[in-house]
Symmetry: C2
Subunit: 253 residues, 2 copies
Amino acid sequence: MERYLGFLFCLLVSASAVSDWNILHQKTKNGLMISLKNYCESWKMNVELHNIREFEVVPDECVGYIGKYMTSIQYQVDSERAVHESIVYLSTSCSLKNDGRDAWIFDIDDTLLSTVPYYKKHRYGGEKLNLTSLEEWMSKGKAPALEHALNLFNELKARGVQIILVSSRREHLRSATIDNLVDVGYHGWTGLMLRGADDELKGVKEYKASARKQLIDEGYRIWGIVGDQYSSFEGLPSARRTFKLPNPLYYLF
Amino acid sequence: MERYLGFLFCLLVSASAVSDWNILHQKTKNGLMISLKNYCESWKMNVELHNIREFEVVPDECVGYIGKYMTSIQYQVDSERAVHESIVYLSTSCSLKNDGRDAWIFDIDDTLLSTVPYYKKHRYGGEKLNLTSLEEWMSKGKAPALEHALNLFNELKARGVQIILVSSRREHLRSATIDNLVDVGYHGWTGLMLRGADDELKGVKEYKASARKQLIDEGYRIWGIVGDQYSSFEGLPSARRTFKLPNPLYYLF
């Protein structure tokens, strides 16, 4: 937290002026005069570039900016474009064999289902994660679908690709997760892998890499992964392609 | 090219209105009403997320948007933040041995030296690459430094890290490149690897991965890579960390 709050900036004006995003009122180490919008946009961009890693909270002064983004058309368009690129790839670069072993992996949270309604009540990532509270919310099964992801999901199904959901949600949420997914329109997946007790000892990256290994050992060809976290892609074995959805709310590792 | 021009959008108004970035006048496949700014920002974001790959030109309608970004404070702040994260990593997570084998890799173009003055005259990536013309510009040795990268370069040197430049520039540009680098303040690197005749048969990714292999075989520990292209990071062997600078002007692979 301190790392981000402390970043390069010296506030030159009082906090009361901070609400105007475009006023140039901060100075970087190298003397650039920048606005709070410049600062928060660069924070978001560097999260997506994977230059900023393992952050625990959204910087306090950027909570408003990130909240605005996550509820904006821009967030929807950014996600839609990622999904569009998956479909372009699927249509032009995948030689599907249709033998029941063509596979595609999805994350669940902020890939198929949105946690934005939860984070809306928790300062858009500006509060440290409270797992009990988040799981309580998940257990209600009220997360809405990310509409574009649902389109891709259905497109994959129509092409005969096996859909495997690999999530860092824990096993005790299995039934609530299935109900939630079905309620908002997802059905017909081939596998739903959640974190068992053993998996909880691993980091998310290791858990997801070992899930891929298991799938490949079973003969699946993993054509693509869609996820909102770099920990869904990293490590070996990898997939042929990965598609990263934007998500500046939290970081899983 | 067609792939991007053809994207999801139907223009609902005449091209004359296109100059107003914020007017909602396009409709995505899923019916979202969006502005040209939304569209071009999502194109840029998905380039940086590495969802859009192997593009040959910046989409014609986004040339203005990308040109504005590349000459903006925002581009500078985004780059500065990436460099800042490199320094945080260097200070907190690298156990340097100071035995002359701690190494750091940099790209050259749009990492140490800026090609923006060239692309300014070539529609900010809206024209297909003309290698002859680009190399002619490079041979003049007038590319300015990216100031933040110069700071990192000097910081690494001060800490005794060996700096290796691995660039996809061709060998015949060696002397112009050295002159240019020294002129704008870079000196004291350990190695400058350019593409020889053999390397030109490989893709950039393969060439850069084999350069890393060579360095590791020579006993170097590659702590980090700073580059503006994903082809500078991908493939094996990899570095402990990578830092991606934004660059929506072109794609090397």
